[in-house]
């Protein structure tokens, strides 16, 4: 490069070149950051902003401070009911999915004829849309024509109104959720089981430990991190559930399957109380973060080496 011109200009050019070179790594991030800022970060912040306002989606939002939060936490029976349903849903599905998945993973973790077939089949509902699963199971649960009642009829049990009975509906939905997802958790556990050294089991067998003891003293401790991840995922899924509820019951009958996200959706898009809907989302987000943090901490305090 020729040193033409005033020395001050040249050092500016040199500074620019080095600045561009330094910016190099950041340039690669521009597309991702752009996407992220516009469609992730800004909505999170805007959602928090909206939660402090009343807004019908058209007029200018009106600031109401913590009024929405107070309403949600102290006055809105539906919200508290929805949250209770989420908690029940969480307890049911997290337990169901993980216990079933772990059991089947252990069963499948041996050289077995047709092992790949079982893994493929059990994982299949995971790739299906929850809408498809929901509609399918609406038919399975049908009081008159459904397969479930048909099977129960074979052993002489009267037809049950799975989805129409407020006392049963939430549990019926939980069953569908577990049905769809346990293959996913099973695969995760299978991967974890592969990582457990076989020598541990052999040593235990030599010491006379039976299958049950081997499971509790070797498998479970070694799988702890994976179990943690699996539980976290299913926990978050249970609190954020929307698709299956909306497809199968829309929160009914009599709000017996109402969950927070459905409530938030209805408030925002059916009743045009978008500020309040945002408030519900913010509360849910806080709850999910706290619940996940607690759960992760709980699983980490008992470290086994």
């Amino acid at each position: 490069m020729e040193a033409v011109g005033i020395p001050a200009r040249r050092s500016t050019a040199q500074r620019w070149v080095s600045r561009v070179r330094e910016a190099g790594p950041y340039v690669w991030l521009i597309p991702a950051l752009g996407l992220f800022l516009v469609f992730r970060l800004y909505p999170v912040l805007y959602g928090m902003y909206l939660s402090l306002h009343t807004w019908d989606g058209i007029q200018v939002p009106r600031f109401v401070g913590l009024e929405n939060f107070a309403y949600a936490l102290f006055t809105d029976d539906l919200f508290r009911m929805a949250l209770m349903h989420n908690v029940l849903y969480a307890i049911g599905t997290v337990t169901g999915k993980n216990v079933l998945a772990l059991f089947l993973a252990v069963l499948l973790n041996v050289p077995l004829r047709g092992r790949a077939f079982f893994r493929t089949t059990l994982f299949m509902p995971v790739v299906m849309s929850f809408v498809v699963v929901g509609i399918l199971w609406t038919w399975m649960y049908n009081t008159q024509f459904g397969l479930i009642n048909a099977i129960l009829g074979l052993v002489g049990i009267d037809p049950v109104d799975w989805v129409g009975d407020p006392k049963l509906a939430l549990w019926a939905l939980m069953g569908v959720d577990i049905w769809k997802w346990y293959g996913y958790h099973m695969v995760i556990f299978l991967a974890g089981l592969q990582g457990i050294p076989v020598v541990l089991y052999e040593a235990a067998r030599v010491d006379g430990a039976g299958a049950w003891r081997q499971f509790w003293n070797i498998t479970v401790p070694m799988l702890r991190p994976i179990i943690g991840v699996s539980v976290t995922l299913s926990l978050m899924g249970a609190f954020n559930v929307f698709d299956i509820i909306y497809v199968m019951t829309q929160g009914g009958p009599n709000n017996s399957t109402l969950v927070v996200v459905v409530h938030s959706y209805l408030q925002g898009f059916k009743f045009y109380r978008m500020g309040y809907g945002a408030t519900l989302s913010v509360i849910l987000l806080v709850i999910v973060i706290i619940a996940s943090a607690i759960q992760i901490r709980l699983m980490r305090t008992e470290k086994v080496d």
Binding site: F117, F123, M128, S281
Partner: protein, 281 residues
């Protein structure tokens, strides 16, 4: 080879009960799906009268009904939106992940964790502000109005996974290329990307399936009937065909069977993609 030890009664009992449990589980999963498909080949009368048996004769009427109700258009919409989302997320995530993986720079760690941390925040929590943003950008009720939020949603896991993937590529290859005068981007484009097939395929499949099955955002952003993606179309069929199940089941099959076929053919990528974050996390 069957040894005498394998035939011991207690062993046989364990193995057979193991198989029994597995078979029962496989049936509970597989049968409903199979039932859904074979139901769509029955005439309307037979769907009621013979709900659980095989069709006495194969009928295609349900499929033609579904197609005249617009199913092909809806499938096309889903294809567009999902493919678009995949392209966008691959571009953004590859560039970002490569940068995080190969360049050591201040703020790299911070930004990486910022991306990954947002895994905690699902789309369901953002429905209202996202709606506002998308409408504000005049993207409501458009293909792009779905593609970009879908891509943004898939960004954290994609960056996380691709960074780990790029980390496994030996630096000697890149250094050799750089010695030959290749720029950073050149190394990325000409050396690293071509050998990243498996990683990219995994992420592409994961994002495609996620977008294909996505429901909430589609429900909120799509207003015109001919823009519906498959999940919305199925909901509509469920309402309008509450007495006439034929087209409903045909649509369910049309929506599901292709996915299942591709899944069975590419199991490893599917399973790997969908569980990628969980196992590495």
């Amino acid at each position: 080879m069957i040894t005498r030890r394998m035939l011991r009664p207690s062993r046989l009992a364990t193995e057979s009960s193991r198989y029994l449990v597995l078979v029962v589980c496989a049936l509970t999963i597989g049968y409903p799906i199979y039932w859904m498909v074979q139901q769509s080949f029955k005439s309307k009368y037979e769907m009621y009268a013979n709900a659980w048996g095989l069709p006495s004769q194969i009928v295609y009427q349900n499929f033609t009904d579904a197609i005249s109700a617009g199913m092909l258009r809806y499938i096309l919409n889903s294809v567009f939106v999902s493919a678009g989302a995949v392209v966008i997320v691959l571009i953004c995530a590859c560039l970002a992940a490569y940068s995080f993986s190969k360049f050591k720079f201040r703020g790299g760690i911070v930004l990486f964790y910022m991306f990954v941390f947002t895994l905690i925040v699902p789309a369901e929590v953002l429905i209202i502000p996202l709606y506002s943003v998308v409408s504000g950008l005049k993207l409501a009720n458009t293909y792009m109005g779905l593609m970009f939020p879908y891509a943004a949603g898939g960004l954290p896991i994609s960056i996380f996974f691709l960074k780990a993937f790029f980390d496994t590529i030996p630096t000697e290859i890149e250094e050799a290329a750089k010695v030959d005068g290749c720029s950073n981007f050149g190394v990325f484009w000409r050396i690293v990307l071509p050998i990243s097939g498996p990683g990219l395929a995994t992420i592409a499949i994961l994002q495609f399936i996620t977008a294909w099955n996505e429901f909430v955002l589609a429900l909120i952003f799509v207003q015109s009937p001919d823009l519906r993606t498959i999940p919305l179309a199925l909901m509509m069929f469920q309402y309008s065909y509450s007495v006439d199940w034929g087209p409903l089941f045909a649509s369910l099959s049309m929506a599901t069977v292709p996915i299942i076929v591709v899944y069975v053919l590419m199991q490893r990528q599917f399973i790997q993609g969908l569980t990628a974050g969980a196992i590495k996390g």
